[in-house]
Amino acid sequence: MSILELRHVEKIYGERENQVNALKDISLQVEEGEFAAIVGTSGSGKSTLLNLIGGLDNPTKGEIFVKNREIGSLSRKELTIFRRRNIGFVFQNYSLMPVLNVYDNVALPVTFDRGKHINREYIEELLRELGIWEKRGKYPNELSGGQQQRVAIARALVNKPHMLLCDEPTGNLDSATTIEVMGLLKASSRKYKQTILMVTHNEAIAQTCDRVIRIEDGRIVTGKRRFPAKGGDDAC
């Protein structure tokens, strides 16, 4: 069953002579539970695509359906709530709140839903699984890059989203940590039946995913390529 569908999506930045066609006529379907990598060279439009899917940015043309809802038809408030409940983000630069410790960083998105109580057992489970339970009182600047990315993943998972959007989650990490983080994402995908879209420019990492979507100059250039999901620590 398709969880995500893009129909003829275009994104244009700037005006007149400064216009940049970041995405051109993108149509795409992603199945539930799929772990897809979006690859392309720098400036090819892969992060733009991810931001449009996540509702962080609006397409100039076309429609984006997430869980069969066209997100362009939602009001700002509806879109924010929809995003909060259904989509988790992991950014390359982690984007953690520097003034909050690990635990509070992870719990923060839950508290935006009024009346929703913080499931502390779940947070503990997440942090333990990600191996950062012992670091729960630490602040981001006291953690290594890998640890910060784990916190970011935990925060992305805390609302149990249907879809996880990761923008170069291993871009700042060394190879050993990259393997760990990829393993965690895959394990999470399996455990919570989540769909993961991951932007990367690392071909080797992309090859470990279920599917690779290639973007060049704002267009998808190849079709589906299926690889068996290897998962675990032996990825790459």
Binding site: I81, M97, N101, Y103, T111, E142, N159
Partner: protein
Amino acid sequence: MRYYKSQTAAIFAGILLTASLLAGISSLIYSSQKSDLLNSKTIYGDWHYCAETDKEQFQKTQSGEKGEGYHLKRCGKMEIRDVAEEEFLIYFISTDETYRRMAHRDLLEGTYPRREDEIAADGFVLSNLGFSGNLGDSVHIGARDYTVTGVLKSEWAASAGEMEVFVSDSFAGRISQTFLYLGFDEDEKLYRQLDAFLREHRISSDAVEGNDEVTKYLAGEEPGSIYDIVKFGLTDEEGNFTYIVLKLQSDYNLAYNGMLVLLCLFSIFAVYSVFNISVAKRTSEYGILQTLGISGKQIGITLLLELWMLFIVGYPLGCLLGNGFLSLVYRSFGGVFGGKGAGVTGNGLSAADQTLAEGTNTLQFYLAWDAMIFGFVFLLAALAAVAFLVVRSLGKQTLKEVMGGDTSFTAKRKIYALHHVNMAGVVVRKFMFANKRKVIGILLSLALGGSIFLCTVYMVENLKVHAELSLKSDDGLGSEYRISLKSNSLKDTIPQAAGDKIKNMPETKNVYPTKFTLGEVTRIESLEEWDSFFDYQNADHYFVRRYGGICLRQEDGTYRIKYDVYGYEDGLIEQLNEFILEGDIDPAALKEGNKIIAVANMDGQGNYYFYGKKSGDMISLRVPKMDGYADELLKFQSGEENYIEKEFEIAAIVSRPLAREQGFLQEGFYKDSVMPGLIMTNEQMEENFGITDYSFINASPAEDAEAGKVSGQILQIIRDVPKAVLVDYSAAIRTQKNYLRQQQIFFSGIAIILLVISLFHIVNSMNHTILARRREYGIIRAMGITDIGFYKMILQTGILYGLLADAVIYYIYNLILRRAMDYYMAHILQFLHVQTGVPNRVLFGIMILNMVIAVAAVMFPARKLVRENIVSEITR
């Protein structure tokens, strides 16, 4: 600078606003002082010193004379040619044009006398001499008749103590006393020029009298060294903190220079607080620079250059802005800053002239260049100190810590999400208090403007009360008309019948005839620290000759002290309630218990004292009997049969008398001082001492009465009373009230400008505080906070800042500033009865305004953030 546009703009705005504040307020105070100087010149004469010289020197000295160390720009000449002492003491004076200009004795109508039997005089003198009002008619002075050729402008001095008639050069009198009125170059120190002038012409300094009210603005006396002033204040028995402040005020214009220093401190505070936020944002970049091998010193220089570049552009622009804005305000207020005389014009002479000095009405806005230059140098140096402090704080952290940015908040390890808590609120508080020192700095700078505003309002409120009380008591301007006697003998009185007639005139109201006698308070056991005060009085030749001294120690160790004793009308006694220091005032109770009201002594620092006595204590009072009275009795050394001695209970002690004598204890050096006295009702004066007639009468015209008619009628009534004169203070009262109104508006103006600029500063700081966290807010938005939720979160920040700033204002104002103001007003400005607080509506108004501004100041950038793309925000 370019990359961190918002930070740079915030620092620039901070510099611009504080420079405009500093320059504007300094220029305003400077202009006001210049205006005060002009008005003092109008009132007291446009001259600096008066020297009595011999005839040769008198004729030799000319305007424009230059000598070693002095430039005598103007020299007015006045010669007393004769004195008539029949009914009034009248001086016949011959003057030159320069003197008349300096003394503001301009001709209002007619001409100056040319012949020996011609005179010109002001309306006050002429009306009391019985002049018809038609030029060319004659008046009788001494043994001769003189033709009046002209009417001159009156002297300002409300007492109009001496009568002067102007005669021509051909007037040959019996005496010749010559005076030079000296006006030196005001761009140089006056006291140095005077010394040089006296040295060159071998004139004794004893022969010189200064025009203190004018020269105090122009370095008329050599200032003491600050070290000596402070040392004396701290180490000498008679010295104290108040002495230091008063001396610094008189010698070094503390009000102006102190304000300048305060403004500089405020400026540096404001710039520092904005700069601190900006630097915190960039700390990690400085860390990266350090890893690249740049030294702390080079970072300091980079910082300093950045600050100085902004400062060099921002400061002059700020000065331009502040001065430009205030000069517009200055002009639009018109008469407000014009000072005492502004806005008052002569409205023709009534039968008894108006005591009047016309204002100059020239409103000029002066630029306080010295303040602007001082501010420039001070802030330039202070910014260097700021850069040094920042680099030093960077140096205290490890390179890793510096690269990690501001990490001071990591000390607290509490996990908030373990409990039921509003995490958005936690984030707000964490953002605010991540660095407590910084937040305290911001809050203090936010609160400073409001606090200064409250202080100014507090001062204005008390100034209002003080001004009203002072007008009634110190200036003697409680009533428009004063009928008094040009005499210093108790023999001369205004008959009760004359007083009653004036009382019964339908054109008058609030007629307060006052009885007076000179008394001696006996059996005072201790003078405490006031012995030196009385030593001065006892050394006064006039007092020794006339009263045998003021305070005399008796064989039994007690003291006898001369006192003015007044009998007031009930209405006037009730007005004393406003001056009460302790006890109760009720005319009926005074009469019933034969009690008395004592006016306390006040020292130069605003402390009141009445020999340790309280209300309810007894004092003994002796007064001379009027049967067989002779002035010799005023020495209180004649036989006991010549005096009446009685004991009185003190009903109350007050700070000031209202109607006051002129010519007894209020004489010579003490003419304008507030001398202590004892007050009872007129009935008590009669019952206790047999005094039935009055010594002076204060009256006001009824609402619809025509001024000229009223004074004419009063003059008619007192025509047969020997030595009685009428002085009309209407114009002086109007002028003084106008001046006081101007003072209030002036202070309020400063307060409002301060408030407006500090509000701008709040908006700037708050706006910057929010924008400095835009990446973090972007992350929160990406995490799924709704726009409403985001606004609520930012609103919390604004409310929190507003509340905290309000709390800081409240505590700073009540615990520190108000107490300092109380001290300043009571002891330095010597306000009467510092009691009036800031009205609650103003206090709450400021707090609400602060809150509204803080909320508005955060909501604007919040709106801006919401419109921004989340992705671009978090990738900053």
